[in-house]
Structure formats: structure tokens, C-alpha cells
């Protein structure tokens, strides 16, 4: 009956997991307790199950379902049968954009993304993806949490990664989402559901704002205040029967103080040379949102944030497909290219995995005069960087790009594969809730080793 603290209890009651820094150095305190042996906190780095192929992920989320038919899925049959009736009665619609081959691999990319296409030789395509529902909200939630049953909230994939691996840089949140969807599940997409809150994603606006991060008083005054708070906390820690978590509180203030310093600096793009800002196309306003996000993502990832997600919404082209795609693509083309170039030049692409794509794809057939409807039975995503084959393509759709016919991958398979690249076994990574062991991949998921480097 008497069991030692469970792992979960330990996670909840011990400190927030950053190393026990010398308080004396920072706070000028003399009365430290003798060095105590502490339990590792819930965000302390943890050993992976497998050798790690990728240390960090940057997920570039194209919310609303980017038309793969007009960007990455070149289908000669479709191009030659424009306007003809397809099986099922709909009218085939060829892309109006010009496709060309790129790089040594001769990868087909349309002229919507000329800069991004320069990296085609690095692309590892997953071309046989499929998901469960053609409705954005459920599909977005499924992409982020593994389940399309939007009624029962589950932890997001970033939360699973933190739970499994902890945080690499103890001065920073391990999971950051920039400019996330304001709807389609909203905070569910970076939430923890039944896991403790410290695994959740930290939300950052596309101008780099995090709530409560700006010191409310001049730093010198706040430093004084912090010293007082910590003295009181240490008094409490010394008293008999003090709550175990006081030690954690003390450390949470240390970390908070460092974060105030460190995080705004990381999110401050003015620190970058003009050449870099130009390469990304950083500018103010909505047009520059994605460029700013890409650059923030690189800076955060470089500093050791394990999972960074950035979002460009507005791809839901049921109508106005032509002009809509031109406008949307212009927002992401240069920033995506710059992100990959930048990561490569800094030698980060060997340890960073970039995931690019949408919650599902669009139809090869027409919807109205200038639109495409949702397609969940076959669509691509792109991986670049750590752990995956460059210039590789896994899976395929049929001759018109409607259904995945080879290398089919469900969302569960995608998640299993991503976890595996990060060193985690999706079947072992479980969390007990309501008497059941939950997984990101529920009861399914196949690791697609074929794409691994």
C-alpha cells in the first residue's frame, strides 16, 4: 500500500527542473542552504528511447490547407485532362501555375515558390498522407493532438515531446508556438489536456510578445525586490514542515529573472544584421508576419527550444484560388527559403528538423469557377533536415492526385515517425490518465523508417 512517490507526483511537486544555479552569484545571498540533492524536475533533460536523429523541430504550419495541386504535386495526367469529368462526377482542373524541375533531383515545384524551390534537393516529401476529417477544426486538432475527436481534449505533440525529453535550454521554455490559430481548437493545439501545465506551449505573438515578460519596474529595482522575495522563500524553506515545493519556487524565480533578460533578446529581431533581415524579408505588418516568425523560429531553435511552431493562415481557397495562392505564396516563399539557408549556414540543419505543411490538402477537381475543395485522402507534407533523407520522396497519390496509393501515412504514422526521429518510441511514451495509458498515437502509428537518413 505504501508506495514511494509516483513519477507523476514527483513531476508535480518538485521544482520546475532547471539546474540549481549558484544563487550567490546572481543575488548576492550569503545564506544558502547546504547544497541539497534534488530530484530532477519535470523539464530536466531525459534520456531518449532511441539514438536521437533530430534534436529540435520547427513546424511551419500552413493553416487552411495549401493547394498541393498548384505547388508541389505535379500531375501530367491532370494537366492533360483539364475540364474532363473525373470518377465521381467532378471536373478535373489542371493547375494554372507553371511547374518546373528543380535541383539535381529534378523535383517538380510550381512557379509560386521560386525561392523555396531552390532547396528542393533537401526536401523529403511525404506524399501519401491522409487524415480523418475534411473539416478544418477537427483536422487542425488532429494534426496537433493526434485525434479528430475534438470533444475529448488530448495533449499536443509539443507537450508530448517535452514530457518525453524535457527542455534542452533551462533558461527558455521548451515549446513555443508563434502566432497560433485563434480558433480551430485555439489553445487546445498547444495545450496539455490532462498533463501538468508545465508541458504546454508558450504562446508568442508574431511581433514577439509574451505576456508578463516585460519587467514591470526598472531592472535594478526589481532585482532588489527579487532578493527580498528569495530571502523570504529561504526562510520558509528552513522552517520545519516547509512545503517540498518551496525549493521549486525559489528556482522558478531564478528562471523567471533570467527569462526576462534572455527571451526578449531572442525575440528582438533588431539584433540581426540587415543582410539577414533582408534575406528573410522581415518587415512590419501582416505581410511580414511569416518572415518575422521564421527568423524568430531560427533564433529560438538555435538557442535550444525543442519545438517551435509558426503559422501562416489563409490557405482555404474554395474560391479566389488563383489570386489567393499568388498572394499567400508571396508571404512564405522567401522566408521559407531564408530559414533553410540560414539553418544550413549555421550548421543547424543537421540537428533541426523542419516540417512544412497543412492539416490536409485540396482536390484536383474544381469547386466553382476558381476554387478547390478539401482533400483528406492524399496530400503531401515536406520534411527537411535532421534525420531525414534529402531529395527523397515517400509515397504517392494516383494519377490525378486524389487518393494516396503508395506509402500511405495517417496522422498517427506521422506522429510516430516524428517522435522516433526525436528519439522517442511512440508506444513507450505513455501517460496515465483516468486509469488508462494514453499515447500521442492512440492505439495506432507506424514509424516510417524508409525516410530516415
Amino acid at each position: 500500500m505504501l508506495q514511494p512517490l509516483t513519477r507523476r507526483q514527483a513531476l508535480k511537486t518538485t521544482a520546475a527542473g532547471f539546474g540549481y544555479l549558484a544563487l550567490a552569484g546572481m543575488l548576492g545571498a550569503q545564506q544558502q542552504r547546504a547544497a541539497t540533492v534534488r530530484e530532477p524536475g519535470p523539464l530536466a533533460p531525459r534520456a531518449p528511447h532511441f539514438p536521437v536523429k533530430a534534436k529540435r523541430i520547427i513546424f511551419c504550419f500552413m493553416e487552411g490547407a495549401m493547394s498541393q495541386m498548384d505547388t508541389f504535386e505535379y500531375k501530367p495526367y491532370l494537366q492533360n485532362h483539364d475540364g474532363q469529368v473525373a470518377t465521381g462526377g467532378a471536373i478535373l482542373t489542371a493547375s494554372k501555375f507553371r511547374f518546373a524541375r528543380h535541383g539535381h533531383t529534378g523535383t517538380w515545384v510550381s512557379n509560386l515558390l521560386p525561392n523555396f524551390a531552390r532547396h528542393a534537393d533537401k526536401f523529403c516529401f511525404l506524399r501519401g498522407l491522409h487524415t480523418d476529417t475534411p473539416a478544418h477544426p477537427q483536422a487542425v486538432i488532429q494534426l496537433h493532438t493526434g485525434t479528430a475527436i475534438a470533444q475529448f481534449t488530448r495533449p499536443s505533440m509539443g507537450a508530448w515531446l517535452l514530457y518525453g525529453l524535457g527542455t534542452e535550454n533551462q533558461d527558455l521554455p521548451g515549446y513555443i508556438t508563434i502566432n497560433p490559430s485563434p480558433n480551430f481548437g485555439g489553445a487546445i493545439n498547444f495545450g496539455t489536456a490532462f498533463m501538468p501545465a508545465h508541458f504546454q506551449g508558450t504562446r508568442v505573438s508574431d511581433t514577439g510578445v509574451i505576456p508578463n515578460l516585460r519587467p514591470s519596474t526598472p531592472m535594478s529595482l526589481q532585482r532588489r525586490q527579487l532578493e527580498l522575495i528569495q530571502e523570504m522563500n529561504r526562510d520558509l524553506a528552513r522552517s520545519p514542515g516547509a512545503p517540498n515545493a518551496v525549493e521549486g519556487v525559489i528556482q522558478s524565480y531564478e528562471l523567471a529573472f533570467r527569462m526576462q533578460d534572455r527571451v526578449p533578446e531572442l525575440l528582438n529581431l533588431a539584433r540581426e544584421p540587415q543582410a539577414v533581415l533582408d534575406m528573410y524579408g522581415v518587415q512590419d505588418g501582416p505581410q511580414g508576419s511569416f518572415a518575422r516568425q521564421c527568423l524568430m523560429a531560427r533564433r529560438l531553435s538555435e538557442a535550444g527550444v525543442r519545438f517551435v511552431e509558426i503559422t501562416q493562415s489563409g490557405w482555404d481557397h474554395h474560391n479566389n484560388l488563383h489570386n489567393g495562392l499568388i498572394s499567400q505564396s508571396s508571404k512564405i516563399d522567401r522566408p521559407m527559403a531564408a530559414l533553410l539557408t540560414d539553418l544550413e549556414q549555421r550548421g543547424l540543419l543537421d540537428e533541426t528538423l523542419v516540417l512544412f505543411g497543412s492539416e490536409f490538402g485540396r482536390m484536383p477537381t474544381a469547386q466553382g469557377p476558381d476554387g478547390r475543395d478539401h482533400n483528406i485522402t492524399g496530400y503531401p507534407m515536406i520534411l527537411v533536415g535532421a534525420g531525414v533523407k534529402a531529395g527523397y520522396s515517400y509515397g504517392a497519390t494516383d494519377e490525378i492526385g486524389r487518393h494516396a496509393i503508395a506509402g500511405r501515412m495517417h496522422m498517427n504514422d506521422l506522429h510516430a515517425t516524428l517522435l522516433s526521429l526525436m528519439g522517442l518510441d511512440h508506444e513507450q511514451l505513455t501517460y496515465r490518465y483516468a486509469g488508462r495509458d494514453f499515447r500521442l498515437t492512440d492505439v495506432a502509428g507506424r514509424v516510417v523508417t524508409e525516410i530516415m537518413d
Binding site: P4, A16, P137, Q151, G186, T202, N212, P215, V246, G435
Partner: protein, 854 residues
């Protein structure tokens, strides 16, 4: 489950399990029909219809034809097929193009051969291969039988006398004797009693969620450090005062709202407000304040609409007004079943319905029974003796009830599309629309018809509205017109505009048992299961479910039977958990096989029995008084223990399962915020009317909309207790979010208490904390002619409920002086003296001591 029910169930399964497909007679005919379907019909549907009407596509008009039930239920225009009656089937009219509006497929008509095949298929009954029913379904499971007999939680409550103890003087109550006996058996003694200041802070937070005032502390400390009997008498007075305070219901009502996964919006895929949810919140608070018997509380939430009312003039009946009030209250109580997470964007009605039922089953079984029954939705429960058939026996009860949350399902709706005013419950103060409004409704109806016609014309008549830039514009204008009139109509019809409404449930028009859904998939229909309850334990005298009622009333009676082995145990354990920091069963929401075993099984039964019967050993009419149990528990010696530890205790029982000390606890998010307001003197303890969400339209709310900002602002500037903050899902107020507020989509019997840097950042920088710190500084500075030492002591009393020590006064004095000097150097600081005192007060609020009770 009773024996007769089990027999009935197995009988009803027989024809299905042997199945029409395998049966000897008539099987060849059936096979031929299925063969016809597979050869002719399925390919036809796939080739001509799936593109727009299947699970993989948007299912235009809500219709899917890749599933028989999809065809039977149909889309927006009703059933697509009527088996046996092709002439009545919309599908046939559409493909023959005899229907005025629906002509399918839109481009290329079907051939006459294909139409003939479809007609034949429907005429022959629209055969469709059924799902494969798992062999185990409805079969007795020996493992289950064993668990029914052996698992502790399913066994009847046992009357156990308190054990003998060696130390006769220590205990004040039999509860103490149960605990002490176990400690003595392990060779441990309890630690010493808590000092008076610690104790009154602890009990005031535990019972009301608020700190004691300095005067209350001073008054108790006077007697509280006196010898045993006098202290206990003084403490009992404190406890009675707290139990009588309206703050009790605000604290304990919140515990229940955590279980009821209370929220003021749907959350999930599309976030739509529940503007009238606050009525349920207030109902819960009032129930705890009035000490509504817990069994009655449960009956009202499950079946408030069905409970018999006292007959007018009869015993217990008051004036007519009182009867109406009672009726309203019970209707509001059923909000428990309505206010969960709802995925209104679900395309398929049958999934929407079954998902909602699942949510209801999950909410009530986990909160009231601490069982995870919804695991049995897809397969027999892997650990607990809950077969799938039990799940669908319960599902039938909810399937026979309308979920009245004012919502319908629809994919990709906009504006008020999801708002369904027919799914609202009217309270007695409601009336229908008056004559003038009724006339306006008629006018709006006509206008809407016209506007819809115009829109259709523009959309479908390509000659009139050819493709091009002008087309979209015209369509947009026409759509806006339809929306505008539609909104007018809804506003005119909205019962919320003609009086008071609430959410909840009512018996549906169609009452009946429902079918097992194979692997939990809503469309995969298995055999019918009679409505009923769980078979994990037998409750003698369980009422039969009448054919013409949903069965919620009987479910409520089954739940609150004194013979139900779980209901009282689960609640007694929850109350223990909230007072002692850990339940006797640690897994408060899971009493199943994978849950924790009770640390003190005899004590748990003793508490459950006392809870039901009132005083122990005095069996009488049910009592189920939460206040009485709370009172008894806090008056025990065990509750009043100090929190200190010794090496020996830590070695023997590090997690304090045996209750040798009191567990220190982090305050909840609400307590932290309320305590700040109490310290600053800004707290308004009155209950605000309704909620900031009460005037919201039932339109999707995004996290960045001006409305969301307004709600955030309302939360940030509120000075009411935290339970009254707007609680829209995914828009949790920051003050609650940072300190592990309950996940609003889940049943939460035990909140996390994490320690993270975002909490430190919040306490250092959030405007709310800064404002309260300044107000507290102004409060302590207000007393004229007082020494700084007195002011510092007052600040300590207001925040930590204790006086400052000499050393602390010295430290604070020099801190304030130094800070003031330093602040003079900073141009941005307006008033250095106030800034220094505010900074000191903020440090108190930010200290670990402030947020822990010991």
C-alpha cells in the same frame, strides 16, 4: 444488472449473433440482395456521389451516401431513402430529376439502367452488409464475474466499529481512532498540533477559499493556544461561522464545478458561448450553501425535470411561487448534463449525438461513481467489469433525452448557424412572443424566403450571374442579406429575449433503447440493448425503466440508493481529499481496478455510512449532509495536526499515507487571486448578477476577436471572487491559467499544483498583481500616525495571517528605505515612497508562504 435483465439481454442478442446472413432460411435471398448491392449499387454510389457525399468529403448538405444510416438519416432535407418505397425516396426523385430543387448528380444524369438499379435496390429494402459484431459481445466474461465479487469498490459498505488504540487521550473522534490505530501498528505517533495562527489560516481557506481577517486570527489565537478543551470549543465556533458563510458555497461549489467540467462555451473545434451557463454555477453554489442533501443534489442534476413535485396544498408544498421556483431550480440543475465540450462542427448528426452522449456518460460516471465507463464505448472495458452492453444500456437513457444546450451541429457554419432556440429550456418567468413580435416574425419569414430565393438564383443561374469578378460580389451581397434576416428571425424567436432560459435536458419525443455501436463508430449499428445501469454490482430494488420515459429518473434513484457501493464512498473520499490534501483513495476519480486502493478501507466505509446516515451508529433517514461531514472532519485531532516532519516519519511513510502530519498545500488559482483582493481590501464579496458572458451572441468566438479582448478585460478588472470570472473554454483568465486551473473539458477531482517560471513572471509583472500590491500599500499607509513597524506587521497580517517577527520588521524597514532611495534615482518612478511600500507588499504576495497553507 439483475438476473432477469441479463437473460433478456442475452435473448435479444441471439437473433443478431446468429444473424440473418448465417441463418439457414432466407439466407440465399439476403445474399443475393447483398450481392446486387456490391455489384451494382456501391460502385454506382462511389462513382457518381462520393465526391461530394461521403465521410472523406465535405458531405454537402450534411448527406453521406457511403453509409446506410447516412442515407436513412439523410441531410438537411431529411431521409434520402425510405427502404421499400422508392417513390418516397428523395434519392430517386433527385436522380430522376423529378424533384423541384434537388437534381443529382448535378452535371451528368444517371443512365436509365442505373436509375432502375437504384430503384430496385430500395424497393428490395436497401440491403447493405452489416458490421461484423465482435464474438465477445454480450457473452459472460469470467474475469468480470471475478471482479464483481472481489474488487473492493464494488462490495457493499461494511459497518466497522472504530478500532482500539493504545493512546486513549489523543483521539477526539472515532475517525482519529481509525487513523491512530494504523499509525500505532507501524510504530509511529502523530506529530504535534498546529499552532493557532496556522490552523485558522488553514481552515478558513479550506472552508471558504479566503484568508482569515487579522481580527479573526487575533480572536482565535487568544483561545486557540489555550489547553485542549477550550481551544477545541473556540475552534468549533470558528468552524460554524465559516460553514454559515456564503463563501463556503463559493469554495465547495467550485470543487463541484471542477467535476462538472463547467465552462461557459463549447470549446473544441468551434468555440460558441453558453450565455446562460451561469445559472447552473449559481445553482451549485446555492446547493452547497443550503447544504442540499447530496443525494438530492445528484438526483436533480440527472433528472431534475422528472422529479415529482410536491402536490399543491400537499405536505411540503408552499405557495405557487415556491413551486415554480423549485421547478426552475431543478431544470437548471440538469445543466450538468448540457454544459460539456461540444463539437458543433461535427458534420454527421449521428456522430454529434453519440459523441455528446459519450461526454454525458463520462461526466456523470467519473464525477459521481469514479468509474471510467466511457472506455466501454468501443470495446468491453479492459480492466473494470463494464461490458460494452452496459455502456449502451446507459446510452439508451441519454439517447432518449434531448440535450438542450441551444446548439445544433453543422459543418462550416457561420454567424448564428449553430444556434438552435428549440433546444433551450424555458424557466417559469418566460412567455412566448407577444402579438406584435409574432407579426414581425411572420414578416421576417416571408422576407427570408424571398432573400433565399434570390441567393439561389444568383448562385445557380450562370446566365444571370456569369463567372467573373462581379459574381462574387453579388453573391456576397445576397448572402449578407439572407444572414441579416436570419439573424433578425432568430432574435425575434429567441426565448432568451422573452424571459429566462437555461440549459439542460428533457425527455425526447422518441423514447427507446439504442443499439451497440460496433467499435464505437456511430454508424456501425449492432444489436439493441435494453436501457439499464451498470452490472458491476447489484443494487436490490433497482427500479424498472418505464417504456415511455428516458430512464433518467430511475438512473438518479439507482445512483443515490443507499445500497450503491460507490456514490457515498466517492463523495466522502472527495471531501477528505479537499481537507487532507490526499484522498483515502488517492485516485479520486478512479475507483476502478487501475485506481489506487484505499489506505484506510474501514475508515472510508465508516465515513461513507456516516455521510449517508448523519451521525454514526444512528441509522435513520438519509442525511447526505456535506456540511456535517466537513464539520466532523475538521474537528478531528488529525485535521488539526502540524505539518512538521521528522526523519523517522519520513523514512517510514514519506508520502504521509498514514496521516501522521498535515500535508502543506498550494492554494488554488482562485484562492491566490481572492486572497490578493482580500489583502488589498478591494474584494467585493457580493455575487455579481450573471456573468460577463451572459450577453454574448451564440456566434463563434476566436481568441483574438474584440469580444475575446472584452472578456479578458472583464476578467482582469473584476474585483469579484474568482468563481464569478468569465470561464469561456480556451479563454481562461490569466490569473487562473497560471496556477493550474481545472482543465475545463475534463472531470477534475484533483488539480495539479505545478511550480513554473510563468507563475513567477505573473507575480512580478502582471498589472493585476501590481494593482493589488499598490492598493495593499495604500491600505497599510492609510493609518495616520502609525509607526512603520506597525504598518509592516499589518501587511504581514493581511497577507500571511501572522505578525511579522522582529527580524522581519527590521529587514522590511531597511528594504523600504533602501528601495525608496534607489527609486529616487529612477526617473520613471512617480512616488518613491509609495513605490517602495508597493514593492514590499508585492514581495509578500509573491512569496512562497503566501501561496501555501500548512
Amino acid at each position: 444488472m439483475s438476473k432477469s435483465l441479463r437473460v433478456l439481454l442475452s435473448l435479444s442478442l441471439v437473433p443478431f449473433l446468429t444473424g440473418p446472413v448465417n441463418a439457414q432460411s432466407a439466407s440465399s435471398k439476403e445474399e443475393a440482395k447483398l450481392d446486387f448491392f456490391e455489384r451494382k449499387i456501391r460502385p454506382l454510389l462511389a462513382n457518381h456521389c462520393y465526391n461530394c457525399h461521403s465521410a472523406d468529403t465535405n458531405s454537402r448538405a450534411g448527406l453521406r451516401v457511403d453509409d446506410r444510416n447516412g442515407l436513412l438519416t439523410g441531410g438537411g432535407r431529411g431521409p434520402a431513402i425510405v427502404p421499400g418505397h422508392p417513390e418516397k425516396s428523395l434519392l430517386i426523385q433527385a436522380v430522376k430529376r423529378t424533384h423541384k430543387k434537388v437534381q443529382m448528380p448535378p452535371k451528368k444524369p444517371l443512365s436509365s439502367r442505373e436509375i432502375a438499379d437504384l430503384t430496385q435496390w430500395i424497393k428490395d429494402g436497401a440491403a447493405w452488409p452489416g458490421p461484423r459484431v465482435p464474438k465477445s459481445l454480450g457473452r459472460p466474461n469470467p474475469e468480470y464475474e471475478k471482479l464483481r465479487k472481489q474488487h473492493w469498490a464494488f462490495q457493499p459498505l461494511r459497518i466497522v466499529p472504530a478500532p482500539a488504540v493504545k493512546d486513549k487521550a489523543w483521539s477526539r473522534d472515532d475517525i482519529d481512532r481509525f487513523l491512530l490505530a494504523k499509525l500505532e501498528s507501524k510504530g509511529l505517533n502523530p506529530v504535534g498540533d498546529a499552532d493557532a495562527a496556522t490552523l485558522i489560516r488553514r481552515v478558513t481557506f479550506d472552508l471558504t477559499g479566503l484568508p482569515p481577517t487579522p481580527a479573526e486570527v487575533a480572536s482565535f489565537v487568544k483561545d486557540g493556544n489555550a489547553p485542549n478543551a477550550k481551544r477545541q470549543a473556540a475552534f468549533a465556533k470558528v468552524v460554524d461561522r465559516l460553514l454559515a458563510s456564503p463563501a463556503f458555497g463559493e469554495r465547495w461549489g467550485r470543487h463541484w464545478l471542477d467535476l462538472a467540467r463547467y465552462g461557459e462555451s463549447t470549446g473544441s473545434a468551434r468555440n460558441l458561448p453558453y450565455p446562460h451557463a451561469w445559472r447552473y454555477r449559481d445553482y451549485v453554489i446555492d446547493a452547497f450553501n443550503r447544504d442540499k442533501p447530496y443525494d438530492q443534489f445528484i438526483r436533480e442534476q440527472i433528472a431534475g425535470d422528472l422529479l415529482p413535485l410536491p402536490s399543491p396544498g400537499g405536505r411540503g408544498a408552499g405557495a405557487e411561487g415556491e413551486l415554480q421556483r423549485l421547478k426552475d431550480e431543478r431544470l437548471i440543475a440538469t445543466g450538468f448534463l448540457a454544459l460539456g465540450v461540444r463539437d458543433v462542427n461535427q458534420r454527421f448528426k449521428v456522430r454529434f449525438v453519440m459523441d455528446n452522449i459519450d461526454e454525458q456518460i463520462d461526466a456523470f460516471t467519473r464525477s459521481m461513481l469514479a468509474l471510467t465507463v466511457s472506455c466501454a464505448r468501443c470495446h468491453d472495458h479492459k480492466f473494470d467489469p463494464i461490458p460494452t452492453t452496459d455502456y449502451y444500456a446507459l446510452a439508451g437513457i441519454f439517447h432518449s433525452s434531448d440535450l438542450c444546450a441551444g446548439l445544433r451541429n453543422k459543418m462550416g457554419g457561420g454567424g448564428l448557424d449553430y444556434y438552435d432556440t428549440s433546444l433551450l429550456l424555458r424557466l417559469s418567468a418566460s412567455s412566448g412572443p407577444d402579438a406584435k413580435t409574432a407579426k414581425r416574425i411572420e414578416q421576417a419569414k416571408a422576407a427570408l424566403k424571398q432573400a433565399r430565393f434570390e441567393l439561389l438564383e444568383l448562385a445557380e443561374n450562370l446566365d444571370k450571374n456569369p463567372p467573373g469578378p462581379a459574381r462574387e460580389k453579388k453573391l456576397k451581397v445576397a448572402r449578407a442579406k439572407v444572414n441579416k434576416i436570419q439573424n433578425e428571425m432568430i432574435a425575434l424567436n429567441d426565448p432568451a429575449n422573452h424571459g429566462q432560459i437555461c440549459y439542460g435536458v428533457r425527455d425526447a419525443k422518441i423514447i427507446g433503447d439504442t443499439e451497440v455501436r460496433i467499435r464505437g463508430e456511430a454508424e456501425k449499428i449492432g444489436p439493441v440493448v435494453p436501457r439499464g445501469f451498470l452490472s458491476a454490482f447489484d443494487i436490490p430494488g433497482t427500479p424498472k425503466i418505464p417504456a415511455k420515459q428516458s430512464g433518467r429518473l430511475e438512473l438518479a434513484q439507482w445512483l443515490t440508493s443507499p445500497k450503491n457501493p460507490l456514490t457515498a464512498r466517492v463523495m466522502a473520499n472527495r471531501i477528505w481529499h479537499h481537507l487532507f490534501g490526499r484522498g483515502l483513495v488517492g485516485s479520486v476519480d478512479n475507483f476502478g481496478v487501475t485506481g489506487d486502493k484505499p489506505s484506510h478501507p474501514e475508515l472510508l466505509d465508516y465515513l461513507a455510512l456516516s455521510f449517508m446516515r448523519g451521525e454514526p451508529g444512528a441509522p435513520g433517514p438519509g442525511e447526505w449532509s456535506v456540511k456535517k461531514l466537513v464539520r466532523r472532519l475538521v474537528l478531528t485531532r488529525a485535521y488539526q495536526l502540524g505539518s512538521e516532519t521528522t526523519e523517522a516519519h519520513l523514512k517510514a511513510d514519506p508520502a504521509n499515507y498514514l496521516v501522521w502530519r498535515h500535508n502543506p498545500a498550494r492554494l488554488s488559482a482562485e484562492e491566490i487571486r481572492d486572497a490578493m483582493l482580500a489583502a488589498s481590501g478591494k474584494l467585493d464579496r457580493a455575487r455579481p448578477k450573471g456573468s460577463p458572458a451572459m450577453h454574448l451572441k451564440v456566434i463563434e468566438l476566436t481568441n483574438v476577436s474584440p469580444l475575446a479582448k472584452k472578456l479578458e478585460e472583464a476578467a482582469n478588472t473584476s474585483v469579484h471572487r474568482s468563481i464569478y470570472l468569465p470561464l469561456l473554454r480556451t479563454l481562461t483568465p490569466r490569473s487562473l491559467e497560471v496556477f493550474d486551473f481545472a482543465e475545463q473539458g475534463l472531470v477534475v477531482g484533483s488539480r495539479d499544483a505545478t511550480t513554473v517560471a510563468t507563475q513567477a513572471l505573473y507575480l512580478l509583472n502582471d498589472p493585476f498583481v501590481r494593482q493589488q500590491s499598490q492598493a495593499l500599500a495604500q491600505r497599510v499607509l492609510a493609518g495616520k500616525g502609525q509607526s512603520d513597524a506597525r504598518r509592516i506587521t499589518l501587511a504581514y497580517a493581511l497577507t500571511l495571517s501572522r505578525p511579522a517577527t522582529a527580524k522581519e520588521i527590521e529587514r522590511a524597514t531597511s528594504y523600504i528605505a533602501d528601495y525608496e532611495n534607489a527609486a529616487r534615482e529612477e526617473k520613471s518612478v512617480q512616488s518613491p515612497r509609495l513605490a517602495a511600500w508597493s514593492s514590499f507588499c508585492q514581495a509578500l504576495l509573491a512569496s512562497a508562504e503566501f501561496r501555501y497553507i500548512r
